[in-house]
């Protein structure tokens, strides 16, 4: 037992072994100790050490850049000269004077409220179905469903299917089937191209969340199901509601985060399919708007403003979904 005081204190901290009264605990030696912040920090030395390697990288390469980007959203910055502070000018310009921003918001919300929830529910449903199969078949089905996300940016293949000329598979089949007489410009006609992107984004949505669900379903202790059957659960739906879902809340939360971060940030897919800029900005999203100002026009200040706005929207929906999902585990 080296450094016994510290160790045993950690032990008490983590397990809450003996709590005497508010703020005072007894450690393993039987000494009462008042809990001060300094003592807590000292006692949690191991915890901090374990986090340290990641925390260091995270601070330098994630936190600092994000904080700087938020600061940049209040400046005018062309990536050559030093940024100049402009106050809320970027924000008022974005909300009041930028008509394309309004199109971008509309399309982003379509993806966030349509493909996001749909992809999320589908990911869970398919993971749940796949989990019913035997080992080899299960691995194979997981691979098939995860394949679109696994294959990087292979989604450009859809351009061959939706290609506007007669070489496009869809047009070719529709024409030879006699359904249409001349090819439809799926990717450039603004009546169709948003729907095409929606389909491809849904196709891509069996991603990180789906795989986490498959893994999560495998880690559920089988004894819970046996206990539930004894307790009078009679069908699969009851089992899903009362055993599986509550056990899966941690993975469901993870899936929600990936789903939010993917569906609010649709953009690369529309650029690959419908070009940039798309016809009358018909598939323009906030992410594309941000890329436009950040990498084409070199207005980094304004691009950061759009990024902060996008972040705000994502954060809001995360807070709401987080509350909803935690309710499942409570009842």
């Amino acid at each position: 037992m080296r450094s016994s005081t510290k160790r045993s204190f950690v032990r008490t901290e983590n397990s809450g072994l003996i709590e005497l009264s508010h703020g005072i605990r007894r450690d393993m030696k039987g000494n009462n100790k008042e809990i001060t912040l300094g003592r807590k920090v000292k006692a949690s030395r191991t915890s901090y050490l374990m986090i340290a390697p990641f925390a260091l990288l995270f601070t330098v390469f994630t936190v600092i850049p994000v904080v700087v980007a938020i600061i940049l959203s209040f400046t005018s910055f062309n990536m050559v000269q030093f940024p100049t502070f402009v106050g809320l000018e970027n924000y008022s310009r974005m909300l009041l004077d930028d008509e394309i921003f309004l199109i971008a918001i509309r399309n982003t919300l379509i993806f966030a409220f349509l493909t996001g929830p749909l992809g999320y529910v589908m990911s869970f449903l398919f993971a749940w179905c796949i989990n019913e199969f035997r080992s080899v078949f299960k691995a194979l089905l997981t691979l098939i469903f995860y394949a679109p996300a696994l294959a990087g940016n292979v989604y450009y293949v859809w351009t061959y299917i939706f290609s506007g000329d007669q070489y496009g598979f869809l047009n070719n089949y529709l024409i030879s089937g006699g359904l249409i007489s001349e090819p439809i410009q799926w990717l450039t006609d603004k009546n169709y191209n948003l729907s095409v992107v929606v389909i491809v984004v849904i196709w891509l949505s069996m991603g990180a969340g789906f795989l986490a669900f498959v893994a999560g379903l495998q880690s559920i202790n089988k004894e819970y199901y046996e206990a539930a059957a004894i307790d009078g659960i009679r069908n699969r739906w009851q089992e899903l509601r009362h055993v599986t879902l509550p056990q899966m809340v941690p993975q469901l939360l993870f899936g929600a985060v990936t789903s939010i971060s993917a569906s609010f940030a649709v953009g690369y897919q529309s650029i690959a399919l419908t070009g940039f800029p798309s016809t009358d900005y018909s598939t323009h999203t906030l992410l594309i708007h941000m890329l436009d100002y950040g990498t084409v026009r070199y207005e980094m200040g304004y691009a950061s403003t759009v990024a902060v706005f996008l972040f705000g929207m994502m954060l809001l929906s995360w807070i709401v979904i987080n509350k909803m999902l935690r309710r499942i585990s409570n009842d």
């Binding site: 950690v10 983590n14 397990s15 949690s44 191991t46 915890s47 901090y48 374990m50 986090i51 390697p53 990641f54 990288l57 995270f58 330098v60 390469f61 994630t62 850049p65 700087v68 980007a69 398919f126 019913e132 035997r134 078949f137 691995a139 089905l141 997981t142 691979l143 679109p148 696994l150 294959a151 990087g152 989604y155 070489y167 598979f169 070719n172 196709w203 069996m206 795989l211 986490a212 893994a215 999560g216 495998q218 880690s219 202790n221 089988k222 004894e223 199901y225 059957a229 993975q251 939360l253 993870f254 985060v257 990936t258 939010i260 940030a265 992410l287 950040g294 980094m300 990024a307 954060l315």
Partner: protein, 291 residues
């Protein structure tokens, strides 16, 4: 084959479905599955198409006379540069292997205390970790570049490894898997005299295999697809996707070679996926987490 289609035989008191329920489920899953796999099969098939079949009218899905022409064309384009092709492959494999191993370890290590210990700053750190996932990295690139340049890491592998290992995605994933781990087992190990590091390596990690294997798949994909075009200018240090992307960038004339590139690039992640998934399914059907 039929044997695999049947449901796993669980203990008697687990509810099981009727045979028609199974069949229906199978048809449903296979129907959707073919929709999911189709574009990928198309890529694989296109990679072996000879020139005249690529631009056939009416277009045909499957290849009639498979050929290696596209792969040869891909190699001949790449081999024009003075660095041998194998060098790019080794670059990418090296960065991917080091990055994946490093990240999975530091992320799991950070996730354990965040999920199971109580210490000042825990809830703040947990919140920051989720929030960071929601901030798009596109506008932070400039600052990351400045930091890397200031540290003298541009044109080194550090510039690819460190920023990617700073992502909080994997920590959040591992945190979510660690949370479900029964506290009673941790308690029992502490009473048996194990310290926190021992618990992490010997108790926690073996049980969380489904979690970290999933993380390996994500991280491998992330590193393998890294182009590093912003940070690596030295020809012999360049990543494979950066070199190959110039082929598909040439457009429709290189459609066949482009498909060959896509097929080549997606092979290693698929192999990693198959190997790791089957190992998880193996271990989890035998043990599972039990209290």
């Amino acid at each position: 084959m039929i044997k695999h289609l049947r449901l796993p035989v669980r203990r008697k008191n687990r509810i099981s479905r009727s045979w028609w329920g199974n069949t229906l489920l199978l048809i449903f899953i296979l129907g959707i599955g073919s929709f999911m796999a189709l574009p990928l099969i198309y890529t694989a098939v296109t990679a072996f198409k000879p020139m005249n079949e690529l631009f056939l009218f009416p277009p045909r899905f499957f290849v009639q006379h498979p050929t290696m022409d596209n792969f040869n064309q891909m190699m001949s384009i790449v081999n024009n540069s003075w660095v041998p092709f194998g060098r790019y492959v080794i670059n990418s494999l090296f960065v991917t292997a080091v990055g994946t191993t490093g990240y999975v370890i530091i992320a799991s290590l950070a996730a354990y205390p965040l999920a199971k210990h109580r210490f000042p700053g825990r809830s703040f750190m947990s919140k920051t970790i989720v929030w960071a996932i929601l901030f798009r990295p596109e506008v932070t690139g400039v600052v990351v570049y400045i930091i890397l340049a200031w540290m003298g890491m541009i044109n080194t592998y550090w510039s690819l490894l460190l920023p990617m290992m700073a992502g909080s995605f994997g920590v959040f994933l591992m945190q979510q898997f660690t949370v479900s781990f029964p506290d009673t087992i941790l308690e029992a190990s502490r009473i048996d005299g194990a310290d926190e590091w021992g618990i992490f390596w010997k108790v926690l990690m073996p049980s969380l295999k489904p979690g970290w294997v999933t993380l390996i798949i994500f991280t491998f994909q992330g590193f393998w697809n890294t182009t590093g075009i912003n940070y690596i200018y030295n020809e012999e240090l360049r990543m494979l996707p950066a070199v190959l992307s110039q082929i598909s960038a040439a457009g429709i004339a290189r459609a066949g070679a482009g498909a060959a590139v896509a097929l080549l690039l997606m092979t290693p992640p698929v192999i990693i996926f198959v190997v790791s998934q089957s190992s998880v399914i193996e271990t989890m059907t035998h043990s599972g987490i039990k209290e």
